[in-house]
């Protein structure tokens, strides 16, 4: 019986790490920022932690903290020029940023190991740690959503002019969103580094970008459940059947097209909205019945 679970452990570990990344992508989109840079921040966090471990023998806790800080710092700095852009321009800029990080990574072979990547990172992070951090990250995003910052993000995303007219500082909030996104990505990048012996630059490029984006698109961009459900579904799906695993990318591609066209809110959020609407209708019907009697 325990073998059954042991077989799926690596998948679960992957899920925990990718929850963090999905949440990182989620929070920037929530604030109306069309950033796809999470993959780059993850790489920055991973390499910071990895280099500290391999070249300086740093303690994993220090490594992870530095990875988180590095991600947060870079994201915050990036938000300054990006504040002047909107929509596709922001998206392109963040994709260019990913590419710059990739190119610099390969160019700075001495530090990062170049295309061959960084090896011999001590594996000090296990499933337990990952679960704890995944839970903490989920709590963080959930708490933000319920509070004033989440409300401000929401407003900015839907109508900037209204947000400004109500006293919400768009610049400050979007910078905050970037910072949180970068911190989360950096954190889980660091955890990934200490979890998998070796990292290489290709891990943090377009493949990761598309994967993370898929989680959020598929699950939903509205509630915290969205990225969690999306990641769960998309990670489990290829495991259900061989042909699914072999054609993973095609399925992701088709899914992106179908979901954004027919269920733009994402599967989880559309379901949640349907439930809410049904509850509202029931409440109405009850009120009408009471009024009549």
């Amino acid at each position: 019986m325990s073998n059954f679970f042991a077989g799926y452990l690596p998948l679960f570990d992957l899920y925990c790490i990718h929850i963090g990344l999905a949440l990182s992508q989620f929070i920037v989109l929530r604030a109306g920022v069309f950033s796809l840079a999470t993959a780059a921040f993850t790489g920055i966090g991973a390499y910071t932690a990895g280099i500290l471990a391999v070249d300086f023998g740093a303690h994993p806790v220090l490594g992870v903290i530095c990875g988180t800080l590095a991600g947060m710092l870079v994201a915050t700095v990036l938000s300054i020029p990006l504040a002047r852009l909107r929509g596709v321009y922001q998206a392109i800029a963040t994709v260019a940023f990913i590419q710059i990080c990739l190119s610099l990574n390969i160019y700075a072979e001495g530090l990062t190991g170049g295309a061959l990547g960084l090896n011999n990172i001590p594996k000090t992070v296990g499933t337990g740690t990952l679960v704890i951090f995944a839970a903490l990250a989920t709590y963080l995003i959930w708490a933000i959503e319920r509070g004033r910052i989440g409300r401000a993000f929401n407003t900015i995303r839907q109508d900037e002019a209204v947000a400004a007219s109500l006293g919400i500082s768009i610049r400050k909030h979007q910078m905050l969103a970037f910072a949180i996104s970068g911190a989360l990505a950096g954190l889980f990048g660091g955890l990934e580094a200490y979890h998998s012996y070796a990292i290489d630059p290709r891990q943090f490029g377009f493949h990761l970008l598309i994967t993370i984006l898929s989680y959020v698109i598929f699950g939903g961009r509205n509630s915290v459940i969205g990225p969690l459900a999306g990641a769960a579904f998309l990670i489990i799906l290829p495991e259900l059947a061989r042909p699914l695993a072999e054609n993973r990318m095609v399925i992701y591609g088709v899914m992106l097209i179908l979901v954004i066209n027919f269920m733009p809110k994402g599967v989880a959020d559309t379901t949640i909205d349907a439930i809410k609407a049904r509850r509202l209708k029931a409440k109405l019907r009850k009120a009408e019945a009471e009024a009549r009697s």
Binding site: I144, G147, R148, I149, Q158, A163, A164, S165, L166
Partner: protein, 254 residues
């Protein structure tokens, strides 16, 4: 007594003069009207006041605070709220949520407690909900609290927008063509609300096309045409001013 003062306000786009030498004063507790034919430059004035458009010359002051060059989000903090011509509610959010955002300005919990979901933030959210519900009750909107705002009738959406603007606890309210597309019953209901604003001591700047509505409500009216003020005074005075009639109906050569 404080007032909202526009002094010698002007706006130039390159060589084109959109507004010039506009002087308007909105004292607290009064409803002031701003009318003018299409293209007169009313929207330009509104955008300058609310910080959406940079000012080329002149000043805008709320009481003692100079907001001429203040960024849009600081305008609200200086006590000026606005409504939009085309009702910009957050369509998918509930009516309650829409009004709650109006209360954002008053939130004092620290960023940290908001980030981590500390009890202080939770308490504040609960308190805000109560305040928002009270506002909805003031506007007779309690039954719609959980509805998505986009699903309400036009008249009700306008009221939600008013509630949201009032939630910011402003000293001055800028109403940008609030009764466009309404029948008399709906607009009369809104008129009552506006009179309520004035009774509460707020200064109201009402920008409208419906001259009769403006004449009924306002103690003082300004007329804009071609970016300049061509008349001002009591409604009776302005409506019988030949310059105003010409602007609206065209001159002798028209």
């Amino acid at each position: 007594m404080t007032s909202l003062k526009l002094a010698n306000l002007s706006k130039r786009f390159g060589g084109v003069v959109a507004s010039e030498n506009v002087n308007i004063e909105v004292p607290a507790g009064k409803i002031i009207g701003l009318i003018g034919p299409n293209g007169a430059g009313k929207t330009t004035i509104v955008n300058m006041i609310t910080g959406m458009l940079p000012v080329s010359g002149g000043t805008i002051q709320v009481g003692d605070v100079d907001i001429t060059h203040a960024p849009a989000h600081e305008i609200c903090r200086s006590g000026l709220a606005r409504t939009f011509q085309n009702i910009r509610l957050l369509g998918e959010a509930s009516v309650l949520d829409n009004v709650m955002i109006g209360l954002h300005r008053h939130e004092t919990s620290s960023t940290l407690s908001a980030l981590l979901g500390l009890p202080a933030s939770g308490r504040e959210t609960a308190a805000l909900k109560i305040r928002a519900m009270k506002l909805l009750a003031d506007f007779d909107l309690t039954e719609f609290a959980d509805y998505p705002a986009g699903g309400l009738s036009y008249g009700h959406q306008r009221k939600v927008e008013m509630a949201r603007a009032v939630a910011t606890n402003p000293d001055f309210i800028l109403l940008d063509e609030p009764i466009a597309g309404m029948n008399n019953v709906e607009s009369d209901a809104l008129a009552e609300i506006f009179l309520g604003f004035a009774r509460d001591g707020k200064g109201v700047l009402l920008i409208e096309h419906n001259v009769r509505f403006v004449a009924k409500l306002c103690s003082h009216v300004y007329v804009l045409d071609g970016g300049r003020l061509i008349s001002e005074g009591t409604p009776e005075h302005v409506l019988s001013d030949p310059a105003v009639i010409t602007a609206y109906l065209g001159g002798e050569d028209a």
